[in-house]
């Protein structure tokens, strides 16, 4: 016989007049192989259909279900209840705008990030449907893919000290995105152009180096390496600019 799990879940529906943020308690019998995906859906379907939370792929690929699980940001779909204590406390991710209960607005945040970082390959070349594809080194292609594995769950941003202090900090996800284009030979932007985007306190110089972003990344992305890589590159670019001005 499994445990009886106690859930304490953050509740607040901004669309209901007079609603006040509060914690609500639920109990549920644990079954084998239970994940928070199964548990939360059972709570909603059997006990409280007003519960708001997000799931999409439920397989750890899409990033929809990030939330704060017993104090730590993570993906609910791949969190097994057996790895948690009998009391599971769930909060929505901080930093992002709250939609309701455990659901936050990562969509708008990330779309703004795409326009800030100009998240696309900048090239002057025009596609020719009749020509063979341009060649690329396989190792470089794999390097680009490694940086593109980000699922935009928002865990890194919500665990970031700087992002909690200032609204305009781009966060590890955005800096990782820039790194993705820096290593991509198809992107014709030079270091000075990248410096324009991230060479400031909102970008690369705002990071306090607390390392939480990498600690909580469910995909295990080397976020701190990218920060270091960009900071070094941007530092050199800044120096060059200073000397050129003199």
């Amino acid at each position: 016989m499994g445990r009886q799990l106690k859930f304490e879940i953050f509740r607040y529906n901004p669309e209901v007049k007079g609603d006040v943020p509060h914690m609500q308690t639920y109990t549920l019998d644990e079954t084998p192989n239970m994940t928070l995906f199964i548990a939360l859906n059972r709570l909603r379907e059997e006990q409280d259909p007003s519960l708001v939370f997000d799931f999409c792929c439920r397989a750890g690929i899409c990033g929809a279900c990030a939330m704060v699980i017993n104090g730590r940001p993570g993906l609910a779909c791949q969190t097994k209840t057996k790895d948690q204590p009998g009391k599971i406390i769930l909060h929505p991710l901080p930093v992002f705008k709250l939609i309701g209960d455990l659901s936050v607005d990562t969509g708008v945040w990330f779309r703004e990030m795409y326009s800030k970082t100009e998240s696309w390959v900048h090239t002057s070349k025009v596609f020719d449907p009749k020509a063979k594809e341009e060649r690329m080194d396989n190792e470089v292609a794999e390097q680009v893919y490694e940086l593109e594995r980000c699922i935009e769950c928002g865990c890194c941003v919500s665990a970031c000290g700087t992002a909690r202090l200032r609204d305009d900090f781009m966060g590890a996800a955005a800096l990782n995105r820039i790194a993705r284009f820096v290593v991509d030979p198809r992107d014709e932007r030079d270091d000075e152009q990248y410096f324009e985007i991230i060479g400031n306190d909102q970008g690369i110089f705002g990071c306090m180096g607390l390392l939480a972003c990498e600690d909580v990344c469910p995909k295990g992305l080397p976020l701190q390496n990218q920060l270091g890589f960009l900071r070094r590159k941007m530092g050199i670019t800044a120096m060059k600019q200073i000397f050129r001005k003199k």
């Binding site: 529906n13 901004p14 669309e15 209901v16 079954t31 192989n33 994940t35 995906f37 199964i38 909603r44 379907e45 409280d48 259909p49 007003s50 519960l51 708001v52 999409c56 792929c57 439920r58 397989a59 750890g60 690929i61 899409c62 929809a64 779909c77 791949q78 097994k80 057996k82 939609i99 309701g100 659901s103 607005d105 969509g107 708008v108 990330f110 779309r111 795409y114 326009s115 998240s119 696309w120 390959v121 596609f127 449907p129 020509a131 063979k132 594809e133 341009e134 060649r135 690329m136 080194d137 396989n138 292609a141 794999e142 680009v144 893919y145 593109e148 594995r149 935009e152 991509d184 198809r186």
Partner: protein
């Protein structure tokens, strides 16, 4: 009421939807995408394998061309596809893969020199030519004559989705997330847009457009056990079908995969069995070797799914709180193999089951995987019945997959069809003006407001949304799954008739305010039951076995009577679908024949019928240039 206006309204922002939108935006039209989730969370991003395109760059793809790709696709479909469409697709795929490379997809590339690969557990050697270094490479997939599947490591869908969404950002396309279309606005002839529910606030909006494209993916979630994301619930199909004039093409054509894990139905790759994994029953004994002495676990997806289901029916399934299942055993493959060749499986087992596949068994069962069924369009992607309405990707029955789709052809279809159909939409929009009848808009909005009010206030009854949904899902699992026969299907239809009644009498337990999920589920419930009923009724009528449609009581593929496509209409006020049939394909570039795998007998079609429709092909049946 917030009203938006655009040239092209795309419902669904996965790969097909965004590709369609890009084509319109590149040609100077305003395109807007609506998505239930942020675009990059679309189910497209979950596809890991790759995209088929006959580039022929890698050693094992040498000699490949679009003709061979065409032949594989038609055979794969069990001659159930539209051959004109399969031809359009195969010819455009290489160009589209190169375009994606230009936009930023980090395709894996050819590395020259000697390397090894495994086939049937055996090690082989291959040699990549120096002259092809850096061109897009490909991997092997089931049912293809050549290595043709372009990929980016184990995350092709994710990588292509990122690139496509970046392209949308670059083109300034509005991609609104957390928006769900709940009905189409139309006058019976022309589509004018959609009524949309905002999933942030719960408020209704109106989106008006000259052209509308439904690209909402499959509807696997009407089954209890599916590999699909929770958003693949048929929303797009429902709003089109509900008009009463748009048919669902081949609803009985649903693909099942043998190894979804229990309880969450996440897929573990066919590679497990390919590399020597075995299936075990409740006594931890093998059984596939009894049913299929030759191929055993390596028989085709449909065949393995069928025998697994049969074995569980015989009482050999493993009981669990989530229903019965079987075991997949890869323990004997050893630590080294599992942590290198099957890394992804290892991770899934670890994250979702807490199982170590080196020492423990993996619980699996056949699971709904793909809907070849969809909103019926012509080869331009224009939906039957309504002007200005288009559909692309898994949502559509365009119909290049017929009764069985090949791995790597679904992800490729999203962008290839998106490009082709996007282009046709651009032709449609060029010089086209339309009139929006505000009376129709207002009355449609009012109809939706009343529907929501009635459900929220329990005006029609007091039944529980999730209970009724469960009843539908279970009816399909029992009667319309891997195995089908007359009795099971008749029972399924009659059960679903009851479910239909119930679906009209649901009420919310919650107050339905804001981004309420119970209301979203309630709003699409009746439409889902209608889709379920279409599957069951069409499967009951189709008295043959073709591709994924397996009738135990009619095991032959019957080209004499069933070389056709089902069109399921749901007329206003009806309680049953109205089934019509049309020719599968206007022309045969490849006349019906044996697929070369899967066995089974064929009742041949009328010779004259086939002869009249055969057109000259640039290629012979074995894929050689004439």
């Amino acid at each position: 009421m917030q009203t938006y206006y655009t040239d092209l309204l795309v419902i669904g922002a996965g790969l097909a939807g965004e590709r369609v939108a890009c084509e319109a935006a590149q040609n100077g039209f305003k395109a807007t995408c609506l998505s239930i989730v942020p675009a990059r969370r679309s189910h497209s991003s979950a596809a890991q394998g790759g995209m088929q395109a006959a580039l022929g760059n890698c050693a094992k793809g040498e000699g490949d061309n679009t003709d061979v790709h065409f032949l594989d696709t038609v055979k794969g479909s069990d001659w159930g596809c539209d051959q004109e469409v399969a031809r359009l697709f195969a010819d455009a795929a290489p160009i589209e893969m190169r375009r994606l490379a230009h936009w930023g997809v980090p395709w894996n590339r050819v590395v020259p020199g000697k390397s090894f690969f495994f086939k049937g557990g055996e090690k082989f050697e291959k040699f990549e030519k120096k002259e092809n270094e850096g061109l897009i490479t490909a991997r092997s997939f089931g049912g293809t004559a050549k290595w043709r599947t372009c990929y980016t490591s184990d995350g092709t869908g994710h990588a292509v989705m990122c690139t496509m969404d970046n392209r949308c950002a670059e083109l300034g396309i509005d991609v609104f997330d957390k928006k769900e279309a709940i009905s189409l606005i139309h006058d019976g002839e022309t589509c004018m847009g959609a009524v949309v529910r905002c999933l942030r606030t719960g408020k209704l909006e109106v989106h008006l457009a000259k052209a509308t494209a439904i690209c909402t993916g499959g509807f696997g979630r009407i089954y209890k056990a599916t590999t699909n994301a929770v958003i693949c619930d048929g929303g797009g199909h429902i709003i089109a079908h509900e008009t009463g004039i748009v048919p669902i093409g081949n609803p009985e054509s649903i693909q099942f995969h043998p190894t979804g894990i229990v309880p969450t139905d996440i897929l573990v790759t066919e590679g497990c069995r390919g590399d020597g994994g075995t299936l075990l029953d409740c006594n931890e004994e093998r059984f596939m070797n009894i049913y299929e002495p030759d191929k055993a676990e390596l028989a085709s997806r449909d065949v393995v799914s069928r025998w697994m289901t049969h074995h569980m029916r015989e009482g050999k399934g493993v009981k669990s709180p989530y229903g019965e299942h079987l075991w997949l055993d890869i323990r004997h493959l050893g630590d080294k193999h599992i942590s290198t060749k099957l890394r992804e499986v290892d991770e899934i087992c670890h994250h979702f089951l807490g199982v170590d596949p080196r020492t423990e068994l993996i619980p699996v069962r056949p699971t709904q995987h793909y809907t070849m069924a969809g909103i019926r369009t012509n080869k331009d992607g224009a939906v039957y019945g309504l002007k200005g309405l288009y559909s692309a990707g898994e949502a559509a029955c365009w119909d290049m997959h017929g009764f069985n789709r090949l791995g790597g052809n679904s992800l490729a279809e999203t962008v290839v069809a998106g490009g082709i159909i996007g282009n046709k939409i651009v032709e449609f929009l060029s010089g086209y003006e339309t009139k929006i009848d505000t009376k129709i808009v207002a009355s449609e909005v009012k109809r939706q407001e009343e529907r929501i009010h009635d459900i929220t206030h329990g005006r029609n009854g007091k039944l529980n949304v999730y209970d009724v949904r469960n009843e539908m899902q279970e009816a399909l699992m029992r009667g319309c799954f891997v195995f089908r026969n007359k009795e099971g299907l008749e029972e399924c239809v009659s059960t679903l008739q009851g479910t239909m009644e119930k679906s009209r009498k649901v009420a919310l337990v919650s107050n339905g305010a804001g981004p309420n999920h119970e209301l979203a589920a309630a709003l699409k419930l009746e439409g889902q039951v209608r889709l379920a009923m279409c599957i069951a009724q069409a499967a009951l009528m189709r008295t043959e076995s073709r591709g994924s449609h397996n009738r135990e009581d009619f095991p032959e593929r019957n080209d004499a009577e069933w070389l056709n496509r089902t069109l399921a209409y749901w007329r206003e006020g009806a309680d049953m679908p109205e089934l019509q049939y049309e020719d599968t394909t206007p022309v045969f570039e490849l006349p019906p024949g044996d697929r070369g795998y899967g066995g089974g007998t064929i009742i041949p079609a009328d010779e004259k019928y086939v002869k009249d429709r055969v057109i000259d092909s640039p290629v012979t049946e074995i894929g050689k240039k004439k």
